[in-house]
């Protein structure tokens, strides 16, 4: 039984005495929840608390395992509340009513649907074997045939002798759908003896409830409920009421998976069964029994199921590989895009419409869309190169034309450099333009141009041996000398011991074209201007984002750090790039007078090694409490938090040097998750941990006039929860005044009438 770490924590002694071997009580509780440590390791947990835990933390709905399948275990009524966990499964019905030929045909037909869609095998998981007669041998014969398909079985049988014979013939991966208000004792004994899950059926929901109660009292909680009524209307009512009673009202006697039998509700009407199955996919069936499962039914039904059971916070991904479209072979051109399922469907659909052979190459971008992935560094020339190597595209494809999405035209040069011999062509901005683009073969001319350009480049600059330079050599040869310019602003200094709220100015960011250009050209003026504005507005730290900077990261960062610190009294900086060497280089030239450098950022997934980087360089690190996508709840956020905390501590960092970022979420789209984020901050704070984050993300997409108001309200709430820092736009006066006022109420700054001017 999965216990919730946070629930355990509520009952914990909260002494952080470390006697259990964990650094904090919270960390200990998380381990207990994961099952890696026994709760008895803590000498201070009371027996009462332990007993209460078992009672309180049982989930509202049981997870029932049949063979390799899991049923139930849901915690919410609607997927947007969190996520649905165990997808509904399908069964096809055979019956002793059928002739042997009919049954054989069903059993053979149901195995025909078996295909893969976005990494998931789509097939009929169960055979529903219905008994309508009294001879045990007849039923056992049919069950044996059904078992030969290798699928799990549901034995619908209310006759105890037939059931026993069937169980003997069926093996282990079985649900005995046989308990009724009349026979439950005998059926319970049969199911227990065979060690299988017991299905319960009654004429009405009230009798169903009573029968479950009796079975529970007899010690059986390995149940599924057959909620099929006399009509579709009654069946929907049963399915909803059972689930609602379990999840909303917390009555665990209805906290079991459910079976809906459409072979009974819409006999002989495949299309109506498809309609009902679609409904019961959304409304609470765990197993749907059909008369048939043809491809025409399977394609929409399995597609719908895959959609509904997608975790709302983890985008659907397709496999990174070469997808040959329209009969493409090794001589067909290649088109490249990311692995976000919707992007893939859109792009492959439009490419198919063009009727032109093309190899669609999908690169791993963590399921993000093209622009999001690019901005997050998950879709870059390096990731593309990696994909080309992993898929061995050089050898598999002879054509050398590579079409990249129009939205990342900026990557053309870099990809061209990383993939010598390929002719990189910028495709259209939108997928809908692809059919025309492909039919008109616009890419052919562009590929020729790219080839000529590459040839010219190669001729102009004969290959020289590139030797990797040390930071000192780079500094001496590649970093322009810094001129100190009087910008009329002086950084007033910062005491790292102070408790006042730390603002990290976010305005020096390569997403801004002005800054990107200035970084590329090492033009100090636009960067100094933005720095001066932010310092004048009261920023404590400045964030320096130099972009992915795959090529010249180290010299770029050294230049930026020196430029800002030499001009502004050693203003402390957050070094923000995906290029680790660049961060290291930046720290080499960093002056610590006003505080340690901040590494922006690490996470609990692929970027966890940035904690090692911070530890090795005595820096602060912003630790994003996420791994693959946004954490689904605070349970997961805190798990990431403690993974990173432990890693940092084991490398000798002080816990104060890990600033945990709960990941502020946008209100437009994730309004119902805002309190989760705020509560996560409280959890950090309760453990004495520091926190930060890109707070203004909350108001993304809101009208300009509204954003400062939303940001100010959120920062006040977050500071109340214990937020110690934020990455903000310091030029937002309302926000900065709110922060200063909160620092007064928190007694971090002594009040004076002029406190806002300080």
């Amino acid at each position: 039984m999965a216990l919730k770490g946070l629930d355990i924590f509520k009952l914990s002694p909260r002494k952080n005495c470390k006697e259990c071997g964990s650094p904090t009580c919270m960390a200990f509780c998380m381990k207990v929840a994961q099952g890696s440590v026994s709760i008895d390791k803590c000498p201070y947990f009371s027996d009462d608390a332990k007993a209460m835990l078992n009672e309180q933390t049982a989930p509202p709905m049981k997870t029932i395992a049949v063979g390799e399948h899991k049923l139930g275990g849901e915690t919410v009524l609607y997927r947007h509340e969190k996520t649905l966990v165990n997808k509904n499964l399908y069964a096809v019905a055979v019956s002793t009513d059928m002739t042997a030929e009919e049954a054989d045909k069903k059993l053979s037909d149901l195995q025909k649907v078996d295909y893969e869609r976005i990494g998931e095998r789509m097939y009929v998981e169960f055979v529903f074997v219905s008994n309508t007669q009294a001879d045990p041998a007849v039923y056992a014969e049919l069950v044996k045939k059904a078992a030969a398909t290798g699928r799990c079985l549901i034995l619908e049988c209310w006759d105890v002798e037939c059931a026993k014979a069937a169980l003997a013939a069926a093996g282990k991966n079985v649900i005995l759908d046989g308990a009724t208000p009349d026979n439950w004792e005998a059926m319970n004994a049969a199911a227990k003896e065979a060690g299988v899950v017991l299905g319960v059926y009654a004429e009405n929901i009230s009798d169903l409830y009573d029968t479950v109660k009796k079975l529970e009292a007899a010690g059986n909680k390995d149940l599924v409920l057959d909620v099929t009524g006399k009509t579709a209307k009654e069946t929907l009512a049963n399915a909803v009421l059972v689930r609602r009673t379990a999840i909303k009202d917390g009555d665990r006697s209805f906290g079991y998976p459910s079976i809906v039998n459409l072979a009974r509700l819409a006999k002989g009407d495949d299309r109506l069964q498809t309609a009902y199955a679609s409904m019961f996919t959304e409304k609470y069936a765990s197993i749907i029994v059909m008369e048939n499962m043809t491809y025409a039914q399977a394609l929409p039904l399995y597609g719908l199921r895959q959609n509904i059971y997608t975790d709302p916070q983890k985008p659907m991904k397709v496999e990174s590989k070469i997808y040959p479209l329209n009969g493409a072979d090794e001589n067909s051109p290649c088109a490249l895009t990311v692995d976000f399922a919707l992007t893939y469907f859109l792009v492959s659909g439009e490419l198919e419409r063009s009727n032109q052979p093309v190899n669609l190459i999908i690169t791993d971008a963590s399921g993000m869309s093209v622009l999001t992935a690019w901005a997050a560094g998950k879709f870059s020339s390096s990731t593309v190169k990696k994909t080309f190597e992993e898929l061995d595209i050089e050898n598999k494809i002879k054509n050398r034309t590579l079409i990249i999405p129009g939205k990342v035209a900026v990557m053309k040069g870099e990809i061209q450099e990383k993939l010598p011999g390929w002719n990189v062509v910028v495709g259209p901005l939108e997928a809908v333009q692809l059919p025309k683009y492909m039919k008109d073969k616009e890419y052919e001319a562009a590929a020729k141009a790219a080839q000529a350009e590459a040839a010219a480049k190669a001729a102009a600059a004969p290959k020289e041996e590139v030797k990797e330079l040390s930071f000192e050599e780079l500094l001496a040869t590649k970093v322009p000398e810094i001129k100190v310019v009087d910008m009329g602003v002086k950084y007033k200094g910062h005491n790292p011991e102070s408790k006042t709220f730390v603002t990290i100015g976010e305005r020096i960011h390569c997403i801004s074209p002005v800054i990107r250009k200035a970084m590329d050209e090492r033009d100090p003026e636009p960067i100094l201007k933005r720095a001066a504005e932010q310092i004048a507005a009261g920023a404590t730290y400045l964030d320096v984002n130099i972009g992915p900077a795959e090529k010249d990261g180290p010299e770029r960062m050294m230049w930026a750090v020196k430029l800002l610190q030499e001009n502004f009294n050693n203003v402390p900086l957050a070094l923000d790039t995906a290029n680790k060497k660049a961060i290291e280089a930046g720290i080499k030239v960093y002056n610590r007078t006003n505080g340690k450098p901040i590494v922006n950022s690490a996470d609990a997934g692929s970027r966890i090694s940035n904690i090692d980087l911070a530890a090795a360089n005595d820096a602060i690190v912003i630790a994003l409490c996420s791994a693959d996508g946004i954490a689904k709840d605070n349970e997961e956020r805190m798990k990431h938090c403690h993974n990173m905390l432990e890693r940092g501590l084991s490398l000798g960092m002080a816990s104060d040097d890990l600033w945990f970022d709960p990941l502020f979420l946008v209100v437009k789209g994730m309004q119902d998750k805002q309190m989760d984020v705020l509560n996560a901050i409280k959890l950090f704070s309760d453990e004495g941990l520091k926190s930060t984050g890109g707070l203004s993300n909350n108001s993304n997409g809101a009208p300009k006039a509204v954003r400062p108001i939303m940001d100010s309200a959120l920062v006040a709430m977050a500071m109340m929860q214990g937020l110690t820092s934020a990455i903000v736009n310091p030029c937002d006066l309302r926000l900065m005044e709110t922060i200063k006022s909160c620092d007064i109420f928190k007694n971090h700054v002594l009040y004076s009438d002029s406190y806002l001017d300080l």
Binding site: A232, A237, T274, A275, S278, P300
Partner: protein, 313 residues
Amino acid sequence: MAFTPKTAPFRGKINAVTLGAGDKAIVIGGQNVMPFYTFDAPIENVPKIGVEISDLAGEWTAPALKEFYAGCVTMADYAKKAQTMPGADFLCLHFESADPNGANRSVAECVADAKAVAEAVTMPIVIMGCKNLEKDGELFSKIAEALQGKNILVLSARSEDYKTVGASVALAYGQKVGAETADDINLAKQLNIMLKGLSINPENIVMNIGTAAVGYGYEYVASTLDRVRLAALEQSDADLQMPIIAPVSTDTWGVKESTATEEDEPAWGCAEERAIEMEVSTAAANLTGGADAVIMRHPAAVATISKFITELV
């Protein structure tokens, strides 16, 4: 201990909106429970089915669909025939060929078609444009003017053109207006607020909150439907209490499951049956999520969904 289910309607209620005029007029919306939750409270107006008639219907290739419309030439022919389709409650005229990037038929021709249909049929009429903002703006205004008194629904006003579409369709000519957004509850609410801000009565607004065929990002549609309905009923949010119309066929007939020929996909079987099942599944999913009306194409799919609705209310 006997089980007594907790059942109750919500305080909030979906607006009841009338489409069409005369005997065949229909009402959509009006309920105060989640879709088909008749055990919480009876449902006042059962969900309705509209039949899509495209001005490109001549290009439809599915054999049984062609057979149903055999002999039809003009849009009015199609509309008259569609009116006889068992399960049909209203007609949706889809002016695909007005698209400037396609056939670019003139507004005058489209209006003439719409008028001819309106004279030939008695069922309520819904108008669907070509998705080109500029062309749709003119088309919607002219059709709304030509069909005054018919109480038609025009799909749709979007955040880019709600002012012109809302002002002409709803204010000047007294028709119903659809508010179209794409899987975004905040935008859906905002657009309704803006339409109401033009002095359009909420009873004249219907929402299209976004569509997709099942398997193609339908999770966004499903969750938007859930959230919009819960906001309208549970939180009594008056800016989301408009009934919802879901155009189904325009998405489902374009996906590979429906378009791939039997030669392309030998294992999949009859292409028309696949298109029907795709339409059935998507329509049923939309109705389960909260759509008060669906727009469909194939007579067999319409018959199935009609039975589905009848069985559930």
